[in-house]
């Protein structure tokens, strides 16, 4: 079979590897998911923040030959693609200092999770190699790689996040987007129930205190995932009324304290 004339130089290859794998048996959605995920990794795109890969960083397929599960990809930003893909390799192999995993690198985790799902669907692995070193992959993702990464880098807990509701709702899953001070990208949250999502929708563009389950990148305490279990909007409002209500609830007991300075000091001993 003759090779098609190349009109673009290959930057890297994506190889789907599995026992007895034949390209004709791979569902297209699996191929699409794998190449989309690698495109995100190569371009540095955050799939939650950016709808599409910028035009100047788009990946294209070249030399797709019948009978192979090797997809040669051309990048319009080849240098950046190679740097980003090398970084992914270092993170997966544990060579990258976990303390340096920051918000910028965190956006690589969702595409890696997708590639793990593709590897699981294939019963094999996804390899990405530079065009000039096709036998020496930059990285290889197997079905357990994302969970291994998670256990190394993530910590689960519960916390309160204060932010402004920008979006709320969803079709198949309830979601909410919060603008959180100090965070350059919006925090895209899962929402525990439709009822809470509906309540959130009634508070669009308002500041809330959301309580829920969190997954942190523990080296930087960057929030990777957050599921809203509930939220509130406590406000002082009329300070005189608030103080009266607090006194009525029990705070007036402090009036009887004979040496206030001494007592306040004792609180911390």
């Amino acid at each position: 079979m003759t090779t098609k004339t190349k009109n673009a130089e290959t930057t890297f290859v994506v190889r789907l590897v599995a026992p007895d794998l034949s390209p004709s048996t791979i569902p297209f959605r699996v191929v699409s998911a794998a190449i989309s995920a690698v495109q995100d990794l190569a371009s540095g795109r955050d799939p939650l923040e950016t709808r599409q890969v910028p035009e100047e960083k788009v990946i294209g397929l070249v030399n797709v030959r019948k009978g192979s599960a090797i997809y040669s990809c051309f990048s319009r930003a080849p240098d950046e693609a190679r740097v980003n893909l090398r970084l992914v390799g270092q993170v997966l192999s544990g060579q990258y200092d976990a303390n340096r995993i920051d918000e910028r690198l965190a956006k690589a985790f969702k595409p890696i999770e997708k590639l793990s799902e593709v590897a699981k669907a294939l019963g094999g692995r996804v390899e990405v190699a530079l065009a000039n070193q096709p036998r020496d992959p930059l990285f290889s993702v197997e079905k357990d790689d994302f969970s291994k990464l998670s256990s190394r880098l993530f910590l689960t807990g519960e916390t309160t996040v204060i932010g402004t509701v920008k979006r709320a709702g969803g079709q198949t899953a309830m979601k909410c987007a919060l603008r959180v001070p100090g965070r350059s990208r919006m925090l895209y949250c899962s929402v525990r129930s439709k009822a809470i999502a509906q309540r959130l929708g009634q508070h669009l563009y308002e500041e809330i205190a959301a309580q829920g389950k969190v997954v942190w990148i523990h080296s930087s305490w960057h929030i990777y995932k957050f599921t809203i279990h509930d939220f509130s909007q406590p406000r002082i409002g009329d300070a005189a009324a608030a103080i009266k209500q607090l006194r009525d609830a029990g705070l007036d007991a402090w009036d009887d304290v004979s040496d206030l300075d001494e007592t306040l000091g004792e609180l911390r001993r």
Binding site: L155, G157, E158, T159, T160, V161, I162, G163, V180, P181, G182, E207, I208, A209, W216, H218, W221, S232, Q233, P234, R235, I236, G237, D238, A239, A240, A241, A242, I243, Q245, L246, R247, A249, G250, L251, D252, A253, W254, D255, D256, V257, S258, L260, T263, L264, L267, R268, R269
Partner: protein, 185 residues
């Protein structure tokens, strides 16, 4: 901006001194604390749950639930999370590098303050109010730390604090002094 407050802000704001002896000083502090709460009335304000336990110290046990419930309607009473634990531990280390005259006399006191400040920080606070100098010094290591305000620019602040916000005229900020016009030729 997200603001955190210490327990003494709430305790002082709710105070109506009984003895004439302490009355003047405590009334002044109560006024300053009330001014702060008035200034923050439309913000989400963090009062960490550890600080809530301090507010409850003199409240009868039978009224703890009601007081906590009211506090949670007014403030974000965040728990001591894993992130807060990490921040508190870091504050402990940073405290060692403070000049001797700024260090706590007792380490156990510092740890309590560290947990409160850390809880506020972990909830997103970038400013922290406390009437305790040592606590402000500690908080100042990781965010802006301030004492209770000394006054207010609002003209009718004392009436607002005693009677509430209803039926107040709209323009209540003190007018700036105008320079007199020079006479011209």
């Amino acid at each position: 901006m997200i603001v955190g407050i210490d327990s003494n802000v709430v305790i002082l704001a709710g105070l109506v001194p009984k003895t004439a002896e302490d009355s003047a000083e405590q009334q002044a502090l109560a006024r300053r604390a009330k001014i702060l709460l008035h200034d923050l009335r439309n913000h989400l304000v963090v009062l960490p749950m550890i600080a809530v336990s301090e507010v409850l110290v003199k409240v009868p046990a039978s009224k703890h639930g009601a007081t906590i419930d009211k506090l949670k309607q007014l403030f974000v009473c965040s728990d001591f999370s894993e992130e807060a634990a990490s921040i508190a531990a870091s504050l402990w280390g940073q405290h060692k590098n403070l000049p001797a005259d700024q260090k706590y006399d007792e380490r156990i006191v510092m740890l309590a303050d560290a947990k409160i400040v850390a809880s506020a920080k972990a909830t997103g606070a970038t400013m922290f109010y406390s009437h305790n100098r040592d606590c402000r010094t500690l908080a100042g290591l990781i965010m802006t730390a301030k004492d209770l305000p000394s006054g207010s620019e609002e003209l009718f602040i004392d009436q607002m604090l005693s009677e509430g916000l209803e039926d107040r005229p709209k323009g209540t900020v003190k007018p700036k002094r105008r320079r007199s016009k020079k006479s011209g030729y």
